[in-house]
Symmetry: C2
Subunit: 578 residues, 2 copies
Amino acid sequence: MGRLRLALAQTNPVLGDLAANSRQILDAARQAAAQGADLMITGEMAVTGYPIEDLAQRPSFLVASLDATRTLAKQLLDEGLGDLVVIVGHPDGPHEPRLLGTSNAPTAIAHNSASVLQHGHIKATYAKHHLPNYSVFDEYRIFIPGDELLVARVNGVDVAIVICEDLWRDGGPVSRVLEADAGVLAVLNGSPFERDKDEVRLPLATRRAIETDTIVAYVNLVGGQDDLVFDGDSVVVDGHGTILARAPQFREHVLVVDVDAADATDTDLPDNVRRIDLTTRNHPKPDLAPDVAELPDDREQLWNALVLGLRDYVKKNRFASVALGLSGGIDSAVCAVLAADAIGAEHVYAVSMPSRYSSDHSRSDADDLAERVGIHYTTEPIADLVMPFENQLGLTGLASENLQARVRGVILMGLSNMNGHLVLTTGNKTELAVGYSTIYGDSVGGFAPIKDVPKTLVWELARWRNEFAASRGEIEPIPENSISKPPSAELSPGQVDQDSLPPYDVLDAILDAYVGQKLGAEDVVQLGFDRATVDEVTRLVDRAEWKRRQGAIGPKISGMAFGRDRRLPVTYRPTRNI
Amino acid sequence: MGRLRLALAQTNPVLGDLAANSRQILDAARQAAAQGADLMITGEMAVTGYPIEDLAQRPSFLVASLDATRTLAKQLLDEGLGDLVVIVGHPDGPHEPRLLGTSNAPTAIAHNSASVLQHGHIKATYAKHHLPNYSVFDEYRIFIPGDELLVARVNGVDVAIVICEDLWRDGGPVSRVLEADAGVLAVLNGSPFERDKDEVRLPLATRRAIETDTIVAYVNLVGGQDDLVFDGDSVVVDGHGTILARAPQFREHVLVVDVDAADATDTDLPDNVRRIDLTTRNHPKPDLAPDVAELPDDREQLWNALVLGLRDYVKKNRFASVALGLSGGIDSAVCAVLAADAIGAEHVYAVSMPSRYSSDHSRSDADDLAERVGIHYTTEPIADLVMPFENQLGLTGLASENLQARVRGVILMGLSNMNGHLVLTTGNKTELAVGYSTIYGDSVGGFAPIKDVPKTLVWELARWRNEFAASRGEIEPIPENSISKPPSAELSPGQVDQDSLPPYDVLDAILDAYVGQKLGAEDVVQLGFDRATVDEVTRLVDRAEWKRRQGAIGPKISGMAFGRDRRLPVTYRPTRNI
């Protein structure tokens, strides 16, 4: 057996900020080297950030990325880290175009790659074979697939290198790892958080470790990028399925671990496998403490994902503060607490915007929350702003209800323009699914923290957050009344959501069936729901696509999303409910 | 030689309205049969409309579509049209899933298909081989590719059937048409309009006709579907490259033509080719007039595309009228005339919303246009609506400028909610590219008629539309002053666009290079543009992605689009201009 000390660098890149991302990798390499590591591995595309979308089709972006990777190799050498073998993810190109269609259609000119750096140079580069093109991934559209497996022999141990989707597909490069007799399988990942994803991801890594009889070193990115949240949770599993080390979720970390891997043998290389030979100095290796993080429970993971998604959107887009409307209801309460957890209460500006229809409890619940959480809090009554519109234009009924919501949007955007706040829009996934919102009104905002959280889960998270506070002897941030009272938009006298919508537990269950599980309307009825309710909900969902298209970005936390997972036509007039 | 009478049914389906789409096909079949056709061919997915996006992953949608196709075959029989061979496009499924990734990821369960109907039955079905996944197409993501070529032998002539992208790719089913000795190549298309597309599409059809020594019958859909405009322009080309018939652009048409095709031979079928044998009665064939439409010039095509995109979005989404702000500037003037051309001046409601900064010429130019075009026209001054916000919130500077635009947005949406108008947003492509607009202000609206038209082209179209009117002895709709005066947002005293932006001819040229041609900033400078200007424009473009994401749908009329052609990260912080 050969012993290697591995370092898994779980970094949080800013997309396009090549210099900052390289500094993160250098910092990680310093920590890895100080702990005596032989080999460090980053996440997928750690040099550029991920996903790079159509930047993959810009030659100048590819040239700059490759330059940054070469420069990183030199910087490692300059800082005395040249001996450490570093495997980094980056786009590689421009290459001969893979023509996707006609000669005037866009082409793919890049690989999604991992390069092995040592002694100031790129020693070899692997190109991802399997390009995912489902859910949030569009890689088949923008990358050229690779067809060669790369093995880096490091101090006599063969380390096979693959990227993310390569691990998930049967066949492909991973199936050749066994033939190639590798001791370690290094996997660079950009694997977004989803609820319960650790229930598929860890078993997969374990299964592949056993199948290929290797030690799998699974490195994931961490951080928010637009509507994705990478959760880290990097892990090392041996060929018996034992977890040797595991990094925490949702924060940067360098996970260092010793592995005893099979010695390389000099069998002939299978077809399409390339091998490079590297050695590191036999430098002193300090003792390592075990480093196996435990995952918190489902709701805490979810909360942390929402917090990180929000924090990184604010920070990476260089906002210093956020503003949001605080209604006393549950959605804005949860968003305010998420914001305070993400960037500190002192950077959160809440605005109460009562109308003539706002109840006393709305104001007092909003006051109460602001007080508990310690965020900035002001009141801007809307009556004097709404009335001139109503009078001049003669607006009544629904037009008047929407007007109130839009006046609130104008207030928040005005404060944003004056003070530089990012406006948060507080709508939940259930509302978005059925279009229960005012476009350019309560939908105003640059980021939607709970966009992918159904209403019933919003309540659950609120209760969890209060319990979490109580368990730590802190003040419960969310007033009980905001959790327990019937939800209302308060746009007309005595209005509650259930005047227009089915009860939220029924609505969320129908949405899960119709949207999440893609069941037809008739199949949803067969599950036991009332036909008229199913017809109404499916009609609302089919008509709400134009609103969803114009929605703000928000963290995706489930496989059942309404963003790119659900690309539907706006002009869609089914003859009957299907 | 065998003579066949072909009918190319250029229909305009409404996505999802299976009953209405089937009626369109039945109507076309009636016309085809009355003219003695043996074989009718529709466009791609004529039964459902195209593109169906993620509806392809809903089993219930697929079942309903296949039911509709079977029902259509029976309806043809019931109406005495059972003898006519009809090839229709529709999705076909659900089939065994093509697993795209993990077991919990979405899967593809449908083919993009063409079925041959006769005597009340589906006789055979072809599945598209090449699934485009570039530009506006995402088919690889949602469909299973086919692997068998289908030949329908009709009265002794072999008709090979392929679908759209199959024709564009070298290799694949079309390359087997020659081996299969087919006499006619029927191609079902959903090919969206782009500027100058006829310069690639017709030469391609011609080249394939010559290469395969067949008569190519190229049938395209017509109509607007969200941001796509299908232009029709169906065409029949013989093996010498001669155009035998051509349908008009932008309207429904049944193109009937006689073709003299090679007789079928009884050579062995190549692998993966299936053949079915059909005959039609030797019914009387009335004489046919030649039917070869001529394409109008580039600007007229473009105008017609914008008109159809707007008309179909309004009609298919069941609006009866549109509303828009009329500023006296060129963008809103062009949008108003497009709307009048699309749905009739009597359904267009223009609102002048002057502020304290509005010039006299703004109002008079708006008045003048409304008068010339005959649209509804009202004035809603904004001063009394803006002031309460400014006073209550203390808004100044940019916040005050944006406030004016947002108050206008609230007015238009209020009128929309009261009267059911679809609001048009009048921003052009240049503004959208650099983010020169107020979010929730002038960007308010459900449809953006000139979203894909650069500012310099807006002027060109305005001049063309006036010339077109003059050539027909009609009043020129657009006041000369709206075309010739310097563009201004009029949000502060004396403001003109060129205070903030480079001259539009320079700006559009830089955008074409940076966005359209995907050149790096340095390469754009090398073309001869001022470095500071290039840096400023590229910075604006990179920062405007979040606004573009929240934009309204609008017709796509060029390969250089900012919608799905250009999927970029919002959080993107390049270290330097790349």
